[in-house]
Symmetry: C2
Subunit: 221 residues, 2 copies
């Protein structure tokens, strides 16, 4: 089965690149197979439909991103600094994408949400699971910060939702203006949304936004 | 030219509905003409291409939304309350859309940004103009609030960008969860992002979120 599972990987990789570049609706199975270098018969051996492929692409992309989020959000620094690291890594990923394909491709989950969530219930449900998981991870960092008396937001989960919403909104702008620097605002925005003070260690951390953060700027800047 | 300009309007109206339901890439000119009840020849009399139609749909939709934003953001109440009214009207529009077609369709400009902004430069440029105009309108309300000593955010334009980004992010969630109530969080989020106190008149205004706002909740709730 070595060659067969190789074909599945090739299809998934090609589909992910094409979806990031051009969305889902504009793609055909024939084009995906051509980009993957596999015969069309292989496609239907592995995937019942284009929708089944989209679900597999979401799962694969989330499996990788979830590992990154767990590494960062359960890491060593104090809780709010982990959120800052998450924003910096997100900006770096968008910058790398821009360098390799010329444009900021944005968040695949956000892209597919706006393109597809009101068209296929299976994809909507899967994307809800992804965003629920993101919010839950941020929520537990928020709860930890609350335990240290660092935030004043009323409700951990609502605050976490607002942080993830701000992330999606700024990634949308990063894509629209083809500028990863739009994400520089995320750290100050997050502190404002959480009603947080700037962590004492922030000035020591090697962050591009450390200066603004140290000045306690509520929004953007 | 009576009939002819009627055909153009029919095409625009049909295209706007179809784009809101299913995005741009999935649509064909034949389908748009069928929904509009006009012959395909009429389409190419008015529009050089599907992209030209998309630009006209954006212009038409923005012309209407800009009138609404101007009415609200240059209205009578004190500046921060105008922003609250903008969020409430946005939620009402999303709720009406949900009632008429079963699902929250989200923000057409956000939808098209994530679907198309890195595929066609003409559409990217037009969508940038729309969001620049939105940010400028919010910025002038923020400046007015600053003049009254009501906010502490460092920079009016950056703060306005963050408010519009939060709006787009929460509208994304409203679409994903098919729930206009996701937009309830916008007012408290906006106050947090601006570093604003709750306006004194807030409790008197007939707003669904007045209670939360009066409690000065930093994020969501």
């Amino acid at each position: 089965m070595g060659r067969t599972s190789d074909a599945r990987e090739k299809i998934l990789t090609a589909a992910q690149s094409l979806i990031e570049l051009r969305g889902y609706s504009a793609l055909g199975v024939a084009e995906i197979c051509k980009a993957a270098g596999v015969p069309k018969g292989s496609f239907y051996y592995f995937f019942a439909s284009k929708e089944a492929l989209a679900l597999a692409v979401i799962d694969e992309h989330w499996a990788a991103q979830e590992r990154d989020w767990i590494r960062v959000l359960r890491g060593d620094p104090e809780p709010l600094l982990r959120l800052r690291q998450l924003f910096e890594e997100t900006e770096n990923i968008q910058r790398s994408g821009q360098q390799s394909c010329g444009t900021v491709s944005g968040c695949m989950f956000g892209n597919l949400t706006l393109e597809l969530s009101n068209q296929t219930e299976a994809i909507r449900a899967r994307l809800q699971e992804v965003f629920d998981a993101q919010v839950t991870m941020v929520e537990s960092v928020v709860a930890e910060a609350r335990g240290r008396g660092e935030i004043t937001a009323a409700d951990d989960r609502e605050a976490a939702r607002s942080v993830v919403a701000q992330l999606e909104g700024q990634v949308l702008f990063a894509k629209l203006y083809n500028s990863p620097r739009r994400l520089d605002a995320l750290w100050a925005n997050c502190l404002a949304l959480l009603g947080a003070r700037v962590p004492q260690d922030a000035a020591e951390a090697p962050a591009s936004s450390a200066k603004d953060a140290a000045e306690g700027v509520p929004a953007g800047a």
